[in-house]
């Protein structure tokens, strides 16, 4: 395992009695991009501000490249931490040119060295022709790149990006996402990237940390977080998930769409919840069935069907666009995921039995 660039232990922060962050443990390896994901108010921005040094933790410690920068006794001010930050509103200095903005963090360097550093940075983000422009003369995407160049120019130990794409329109956003990832990876930067958009997190992060109510719900690779959500919250937050109650039996889990042959370490009769994604569900026409098709949503390459189960619960099923079934048709619904389904007992994910 590579070197640890940032290590947070037990970080807690309250604002006027409101818990913003509670006991956060987080570490980022050198050269890694960690995406911190969660709904608004989950504490993701607070965690960034604590690491950057703009706020002081109520409790806990932060270690940057083996140097403690915050704990109960010690508090290193932001300017001494060696962290670069890309702000949500970019925070470009309006009275300085692009060149001067990028050069702002380069102190104690000779004039020629400064020139060279700024030039190479601007080249990296593809703005070498705009060095003499002022921020208000740039497009949103260009400002974004200046902000990134400015943060990277002093060669920080760590770059923090606070919802950096939220001010861009949708098509620019996916393009910038790709560019920024290529740039960060190209210079092997260590980065923490905060977002509320799970798709963006899956794309940008080498690993994902999901936060809710100031607590860490799960941290892992995008695949782990998506397919093996540690909590019901993560499953729900990672997108289009239906939950179905089930009861543990000797053979597996009994649900209203049939038996899931998935052994669990729980006493028989325990009540659990299964997370179902649209691709896990299929259905067949069956006259007289209690379940039926409620609606079909055409999405181009595929159709999403909304199905009503006998209990009145709704689930969604993904089907090829060629398969057309009219709303109102009675159907038999079944789950055939081809992999273990995430299963929750009192909000926490169950580990596969026997492990």
């Amino acid at each position: 395992m590579s070197k640890i660039a940032v290590d947070c232990r037990g970080l807690s922060k309250q604002y006027n009695g409101e818990v913003a962050l509670e006991g956060l443990d987080l570490s980022v390896h050198a050269g890694e991009i960690l995406a911190v994901l969660g709904p608004s108010g989950c504490g993701k921005t607070t965690s960034l501000r604590l690491i950057a040094g703009f706020e002081n933790p109520d409790a806990g410690s932060i270690t940057l490249a083996d140097r403690v920068v915050a704990n109960g006794r010690k508090l290193v001010p932001p300017e001494k931490r060696g962290i670069g930050m890309v702000f949500q509103d970019y925070a470009l200095f309006p009275h300085l040119t692009v060149f001067e903005n990028v050069a702002f963090g380069l102190h104690r360097r000779s004039r020629s060295q400064k020139q060279a550093d700024v030039r190479s940075m601007l080249k990296l983000v593809g703005l070498e022709n705009l060095a003499q422009r002022f921020p208000h003369e740039l497009s949103g995407g260009q400002r974004q790149r200046v902000a990134l160049a400015r943060a990277l120019a002093p060669r920080p130990i760590l770059v923090l990006l606070d919802e950096p794409f939220s001010n861009l329109d949708a098509d620019r956003r996916s393009q910038m996402r790709e560019e920024v990832r290529v740039i960060l990876k190209g210079i092997k930067a260590t980065a923490i990237f905060v977002t509320h958009d799970q798709e963006e997190a899956l794309y940008m992060g080498d690993r994902l940390a999901v936060l809710n109510h100031g607590r860490l719900e799960q941290i892992g690779t995008p695949e782990q977080v998506f397919h093996q959500p540690a909590t019901r919250f993560v499953a729900e937050f990672m997108g289009s998930t239906d939950f179905l109650p089930g009861e543990v039996t000797a053979a597996g889990i009994h649900t209203e769409i049939g038996l899931l042959e998935q052994p669990v370490d729980l006493p028989i009769g325990a009540h659990v919840e299964i997370a179902l994604r649209p691709d896990d569900i299929s259905f067949e026409r069956q006259a007289g069935s209690q379940s039926m098709v409620l609606a079909r949503h055409f999405q181009g390459a595929q159709n999403i069907y909304r199905l009503r189960l006998p209990s009145g619960r709704l689930v969604h099923a993904l089907q090829p666009h060629t398969r057309l079934i009219a709303p109102g048709t009675p159907v038999r619904v079944s789950a055939n995921p081809g992999h273990r389904l995430a299963c929750f007992y009192q909000g926490e994910a169950l580990k596969p039995a026997g492990n």
Binding site: R9, G10, L11, S12, E22, G23, A52, G53, F54, N56, P57, D58, A59, G60, S61, V68, N71, G72, R73, L75, P77, P78, E79, K80, R81, G82, I83, G84, M85, F87, Q88, D89, A91, L92, F93, P94, H95, F104, G105, H107, R150, A151, P154
Partner: protein, 547 residues
């Protein structure tokens, strides 16, 4: 909290366990920010505290003085004047605002520019012009004397003159505030009223007017404050409101307790108004932001009312602006013919510029820490300091001057009648404007700018110098300029505190008018009017450029 602590009892975390309180400010922050901000607030409190000590020091006699019939009469007169002026100003300003914003009034753009202009006439200049026109030995009387043999005009000194001149000088406060409200008003509300069957007259009274009430209240309170603080107009009009009585007391009897007590009663009146004003302003702002509209408001056709409306605007502008301006020119020419020399004004101009320049610099310097603390470090103390400086709005110049004169005579004799003490008084008088300007410009710098500077390796002071200051500089300079120009016009504090023989433009006007040398007052008065027109001219210029 105990739950939180229990959660962290992991051995490796020992260091992080201590619950952190808000960190104490660094020594540097104390000396550069908190101490100066606190001193500025203390300076504002000095006059009031001193007056309270002064008045209570004499025990029961001060309290008895408050309840004397003569004192209560002054309260009554002052309140009555403030009320009447506010009412008259409303009656002038609301129709003007509506006509210039919402109707097809002929020459609307011109009236829009001209109607707020009386604001630039200092009150003693306005009063002087009124007295010189309508008073005994005035222009009107001398014209009438020849052909008609009229030797006496109805008395304008006293209440009628004060009411007239203060109304003409202060109605623009209501005009501007109502105009802004009219411009922001959502036109669909009116359309809704019309679609519900109201005619335009009913629409005005049932839909438009209720929405203007907060704006009228805001402007009206400013007018009332203006009247309470005014010294020049009531003095020249010889109407005994607080400011005049205090000045006479100070000059004639040097009865400190009486003057101090009267000053305190006046301050309580202005403070009460200020509190009401602050509250109503909060409401008005809310109302304005709640009704943002994309569409510009429609234009109301006046029909056959066009000409009466035009006549009304013309009459107001004539009385409040053109006649005074014409008179100034008339007296100036008369003075020049009589051998007045403009060069005689040079010392006064130099003194005015010197005192105002020092005042602007000092006020800005004092205001900056207060503003930075309140915007960037919002806590109990920074809010307290800011509010305290705001109290200065309620302190009439005469009160500050009086308190400082007594204070210096007793405790700081070397400062008595010196320029530094005068500048100090100006600083107290105008610090709210400076704090306001500094706050507004600081609020426009998003904190992320400063955080970006910190994350790029700059210390707080460096960030302030390299990032914040360049961004707020235009706003600060504008605020300083405003203080400079306002200081030039200031009369009562200058009268009382200026060093012996230190004549400024304002005191030149005053002493010439006191002796009824109307022609001699014209040149300095004209200069003052021109100087105070500068901000208005800039505003109008910017407005025209924006269009």
């Amino acid at each position: 909290m105990s739950e939180l602590l229990a959660k962290q009892s992991v051995p490796a975390l020992d260091e992080g366990l201590a619950k952190r309180r808000a960190p104490l400010p660094s020594l540097r922050a104390v000396f550069l920010l908190w101490l100066p901000a606190g001193l500025a607030a203390a300076a504002v409190l000095l006059p009031i505290v001193y007056l309270i000590l002064r008045a209570t020091g004499s025990g029961a006699s001060a309290w008895a003085l408050v309840w004397q019939t003569s004192t209560l009469q002054i309260v009554g007169r002052t309140a009555w004047l403030a009320f009447s002026v506010t009412l008259a100003s409303t009656a002038v300003a609301v129709p003007l605002a509506w006509l210039t914003v919402r109707t097809n009034l002929p020459l609307r753009r011109m009236w829009t520019v001209l109607t707020p202009l009386p604001l630039v006439i200092p009150s003693y200049v306005g009063a002087y012009l009124l007295a010189s026109a309508l008073g005994p030995r005035g222009m009107l009387q001398s014209w009438l004397e020849g052909p008609f043999g009229i030797t006496r005009l109805p008395e304008i000194y006293g209440f009628p003159g004060a009411l007239m001149i203060l109304t003409f000088l202060s109605y623009p406060f209501i005009l501007l505030s109502v105009r802004a409200a009219l411009q922001k008003m959502d036109p669909s509300l009116e359309e809704a009223a019309r679609s519900l069957g109201l005619n335009s007259w009913q629409t005005f009274w049932r839909v438009i007017f209720p929405q203007l009430r907060p704006a009228i209240a805001t402007g009206g309170l400013l007018v009332a404050l203006y009247v309470l603080r005014d010294f020049g107009a009531v003095s020249i009009m010889r109407y005994n409101t607080f400011t005049r009585v205090i000045y006479t007391q100070y000059q004639s009897s040097f009865d400190r307790t009486a003057a101090a007590t009267l000053a305190l009663v006046l301050v309580s009146m202005t403070l009460a108004l200020l509190v009401v004003e602050t509250r109503s302003r909060g409401r008005a702002r809310y109302a304005a932001s709640a009704t943002s509209s994309a569409k510009p408001p429609g234009v109301f056709p006046l029909g056959r009312w066009r000409w009466p409306a035009l006549l009304f605007c013309a009459l107001i502008v004539l009385l409040a602006l053109l006649i005074p301006a014409g008179e100034l020119v008339y007296w100036l020419v008369r003075g020049l013919q009589a051998g007045e020399r403009v060069t005689g004004l040079f010392p006064a101009v130099r003194n005015s510029v010197l005192a105002s320049g020092l005042a602007a610099a000092a006020t800005l310097l004092a205001a900056l820490p207060v503003a930075v603390a309140s915007v960037r470090r919002p806590n109990f103390y920074s809010r307290l300091f800011e509010r305290v400086t705001y109290i200065a709005f309620a302190l009439p110049g005469i009160v500050i001057a009086l308190a400082l004169v007594f204070f210096a005579a007793n405790y700081a004799l070397p400062l008595y009648q010196t320029l530094p003490l005068l500048v100090f008084a100006y600083g107290i008088l105008f610090i709210p404007e400076a704090v306001g300007a500094a706050r507004t410009s600081l609020l426009q710098v998003h904190p992320s700018m400063e955080e970006a500077g910190r994350s790029l390796g700059q210390k707080p002071l460096q960030v302030f110098r390299k990032v914040t200051l360049p961004m707020v500089r235009p706003g600060l300079l504008a605020g300083g300029g405003l203080v400079f120009l306002t200081t030039m016009k200031e009369l009562p504090a200058t009268l009382i505190l200026a060093p012996y023989g230190f004549q400024t433009l304002a005191t030149e006007v005053w002493s010439a008018v006191s002796e009824a040398f109307f022609a001699k007052a014209a040149a300095p008065a004209l200069l003052l009017v021109l100087v105070s027109s500068l901000p208005m001219a800039l505003l109008i210029f910017r407005d025209m450029k924006d269009r």
